[in-house]
């Protein structure tokens, strides 16, 4: 028998980045709010404390802070005619779990997409004609412009505490920053972090080649900082245990350091952990949600939490899963092309060169999650798609972030994986390596999508979500183009040996190596309810009191890490709810 809790104005599903933002913004309206988080509670003290957090085996390798596939996972197949198999142990992507979500153990790299990315289909059609868009590619425009979003990017960057060098303030190009960035209203809240030797070498050589290097912007505090909620950060120690770890030093931008302590002090905000939402419940007419049902691990029972407003903030994958399970939006069908929920799942296309220097020393354990220098000269705005034969772009960087020896031991190709030669090689090469990586866009396609798996179930008996995904030629051509641009940079650095790692034609999706936790699409925002699941305010088209946060809103992936955009969109949606929806709850479009 399900227990029923006292009704709230708002229920928030998941307490990571977007759940914390929506919690704070809506709490300021005086609403009664409960956030339901499936994982445990965690704070800088005691959970992230030194020295226990500095444990590569527990957190870097066994993934102590991440989602446990036993409790929650997906199935994956590469094509419509392959049987999907469970993603049984984590590899390719690492969804978060527990208060703070993936926002506790991200790298902190923070970006705003380039101007073409908000209206990609129109941009391509205007410049080159629809003819260059491959037949199965389903790129579309965002239903909102960069100018509309700018104040909300700004807001997120100032709450999160981003360090960086502005490159374009109100159209004026600033020396030392990224001249290709979308124009910002003001500088980053903190100056850029210093870079390590690898980034400095990359910066020097790319500058000499006529490119425009700039420090990578990131949620890593370069100095003491206090944000608008009164939350404080202290300067980073470059501890080298950043990505996959909670910061022991109050220096990494996260829900814990930027929002949660201030939010927890609000008497109208409450959160419950070990509370996994199973589905969203609908009114008999199907036009609105009445609340959510969750599993309370403390009492081992299902609980109904009634609420007037439901915010899905459970990460892209779980938001889409809950939508599919609860009948929010028609499920997408790749054969007919109809339906919206699960449509346009996309990922990230990355590659890189590794360079070995016999006589140079990099101290690879010194670094932050967002360390280093980048160039955007081959960013998506700067590429002639018609001439190059692909749609997309990448930013290119160098900067070490975690030289921990179990998982970060690049060796020259041809080195045996074990035995005397392996041992000699780790002694010879550890600390003498740098890399240059490209981080690139990924388009959306007819057959890359999410739906419910017909076979596999989770511990609650719910069907797992099924991911159908494979690499496509367009994005492989894009990454091969980046290879051709990085190779001369790598050569100019004159390494002892160098080697490339870029996807090649025919590459199949391999779920084993970590790639990125930048899963996007599936709850796409758009102007047309036939090709999008949510409207321009992230409001479900068919159920107006449900708002869906996260990178699921992206119609295709941008060339950047997603969270700058995710945070910006969360503030944009929160603003619409606060200033318009609450006064008169209805479909806003």
């Amino acid at each position: 028998m399900a227990r029923t809790e006292k009704k709230k104005d708002v229920v928030i599903v998941g307490l990571g980045w977007t759940g914390s933002i929506l919690g704070m913004e809506l709490a300021q309206e005086g609403l009664e709010i409960v956030a339901l988080e499936r994982g445990h509670d965690q704070n800088t003290v005691p959970e992230f404390q030194y020295p226990n957090m500095i444990d590569e085996l527990k957190y870097g390798v066994r993934l102590g802070l991440m989602q446990k596939p036993r409790n929650s996972t997906v199935t994956i197949r590469r094509s419509l005619d392959e049987a999907a198999l469970p993603y049984r142990s984590l590899g390719s992507f690492l969804p978060g779990n527990g208060v703070g979500g993936a926002g506790t153990h991200w790298n902190g790299l923070n970006w705003r997409p380039m101007l073409s990315e908000y209206r990609l289909r129109s941009y391509v059609e205007e410049r080159w004609g629809a003819g260059i868009i491959p037949e199965d590619m389903q790129i579309q425009d965002y239903p909102v412009t960069y100018d509309e979003l700018e104040p909300f990017f700004d807001r997120f960057e100032h709450v999160a505490g981003i360090s960086g060098t502005a490159g374009n303030i109100k159209g004026q190009i600033m020396e030392g920053g990224n001249p290709f960035e979308s124009p910002r209203a003001r500088a980053y809240p903190m100056p850029a972090m210093p870079t390590t030797y690898d980034g400095a070498k990359f910066g020097e050589v790319t500058k000499a080649m006529g490119y425009h290097p700039f420090p990578r912007p990131g949620g890593i505090a370069s100095q003491a900082y206090v944000n608008e909620y009164g939350m404080q950060m202290g300067p980073c120690n470059h501890c080298g245990f950043c990505e996959r770890y909670g910061c022991y030093n109050y220096s990494k931008s996260s829900p814990q350091t930027a929002i949660l302590d201030a939010l927890k002090r609000k008497p109208n905000f409450e959160y419950r952990t070990k509370s996994e939402v199973l589905r969203i419940e609908m009114a008999p007419d199907g036009k609105t949600a009445t609340g959510v049902t969750y599993f309370d691990e403390n009492t081992e029972e299902e609980v109904f939490q009634p609420a007037d407003l439901v915010i899905l903030a459970a990460y892209q994958l779980h938001n889409v899963h809950l939508m599919l399970l609860s009948g929010i939006g028609q499920p997408y069908d790749p054969v007919t092309g109809e339906g919206v929920t699960g449509r346009n799942y996309a990922y990230q296309m990355n590659g890189g060169y590794t360079m070995f220097f016999k006589d140079e020393v990099f101290n690879p354990f010194v670094g932050t999650g967002a360390n280093g220098m980048s160039i955007d000269d081959f960013g998506i705005d700067n590429i002639d798609f018609g001439q190059e034969g692909f749609i997309g772009g990448s930013y290119i960087s160098s900067g070490q972030s975690n030289g921990q020896p179990i998982r970060n031991m690049p060796l020259p190709s041809g080195t045996p994986a074990w035995g005397a030669d392996w041992k000699k090689a780790v002694g010879d090469w550890y600390g003498h390596v740098m890399s240059i990586g490209s981080h690139g866009s990924h388009m959306s396609y007819r057959t890359n999508y999410l739906d419910l798996d017909p076979t596999y179930k989770d511990r609650h008996g719910r069907p797992l979500m099924r991911m159908t995904f494979n690499w496509k030629d367009n994005d492989i051509r894009m990454t091969q183009f980046m290879k051709s641009k990085i190779e001369p940079i790598a050569k100019a650095l004159n390494p002892t040996v160098m080697q490339a790692g870029f996807k090649q034609a025919g590459a199949m999706y391999d779920v084993r190596p970590y790639q990125t936790t930048h899963n996007v699409g599936g709850s796409v925002m758009g102007a047309d309810p036939k090709t999008s699941a949510v409207n321009r305010y992230l409001q479900a088209w068919d159920k107006h009191n449900i708002f869906v946060m996260g990178a699921g809103a992206f119609p295709q992936n941008t060339q950047y890490n997603p969270t700058g955009m995710v945070g910006g969109l969360a503030y944009w949606a929160a603003h619409a709810i606060r200033t318009d929806y609450l006064r008169n709850p209805r479909p806003l479009v």
Partner: protein
């Protein structure tokens, strides 16, 4: 009385004070780094592995990271103890992983871990299969072969020349991965004894504070490693 690692017993203290002049010339760091195994590996009582499995692991890791040449081998840093610990814990029982059927163990390796077996079960079932193959091919079980033949046998396992049952196909990958983990993980997990592997490659372990080092380009960081429990080497 058995000596604890890094903690001189009363007896060694007395012996040392009898030779103070000699001892005091040894730099402190090398003193701390001298590994003092808590229990010699050949007397160690495995918690998880059977005697045959233990003998296999001892022999295999000694080839995967051999003792000769620069740097410690897997035996000196007590990798077998690490593996015995890990297989007896959440890793060995696949506690975090989704293990529901149906299983398709022979799927393309690109599709990840698909066997119904846990890592511990894979070790337990693959070791006898591999030993039997060694017996048939080389005349002895793995642990009894000479080092060169062991290297050949491991190369065959790596290349799957014996066409092992697909449910066991991740065996070599797991064994090698666990061996490297035991070499480089914090010593509290039983391997990387005395932080010798960190010292060998120049990784400072749990120091995790390098603000002053960001801008010192191309200069070797000077300090040796510390462990989570505060050991120094």
């Amino acid at each position: 009385m058995r000596d604890l690692p890094g903690v001189p017993s009363r007896r060694t203290f007395l012996k040392a004070s009898a030779a103070t002049a000699v001892i005091s010339t040894i730099p402190l760091s090398s003193q701390a780094a001298t590994p003092t195994p808590p229990v010699p590996l050949d007397e160690y009582q495995p918690k998880t592995l059977s005697p045959v499995e233990w003998a296999f692991v001892m022999a295999a890791v000694a080839r995967l990271i051999p003792s000769d040449g620069d740097g410690p081998g897997a035996i000196e840093v007590r990798v077998p103890v690490f593996i015995d610990n890990e297989l007896g814990g959440g890793f060995g029982s696949a506690a975090d992983w989704y293990m529901e059927g149906p299983h398709q163990a022979d799927a393309s390796p690109l599709r990840g871990y698909q066997t119904p077996l846990t890592p511990l079960q894979i070790y337990q079932q693959a070791i006898p299969v591999f030993n039997e193959w060694c017996q048939n091919t080389h005349g002895k079980i793995f642990a009894d072969l000479d080092a060169d033949t062991q290297n050949q046998a491991l190369a065959s396992l790596q290349k799957d020349e014996m066409k092992i049952n697909p449910e066991l196909r991740d065996f070599f990958t797991l064994l090698l991965q666990n061996t490297k983990e035991g070499y480089f993980a914090d010593p509290m997990y039983g391997g990387n004894h005395g932080m010798q592997a960190w010292t060998y490659i120049g990784f400072p372990g749990a120091r995790a504070s390098y603000k002053e080092w960001v801008g010192r380009f191309n200069v070797q960081y000077p300090l040796g490693p510390v462990s989570i429990s505060g050991e120094r080497a």
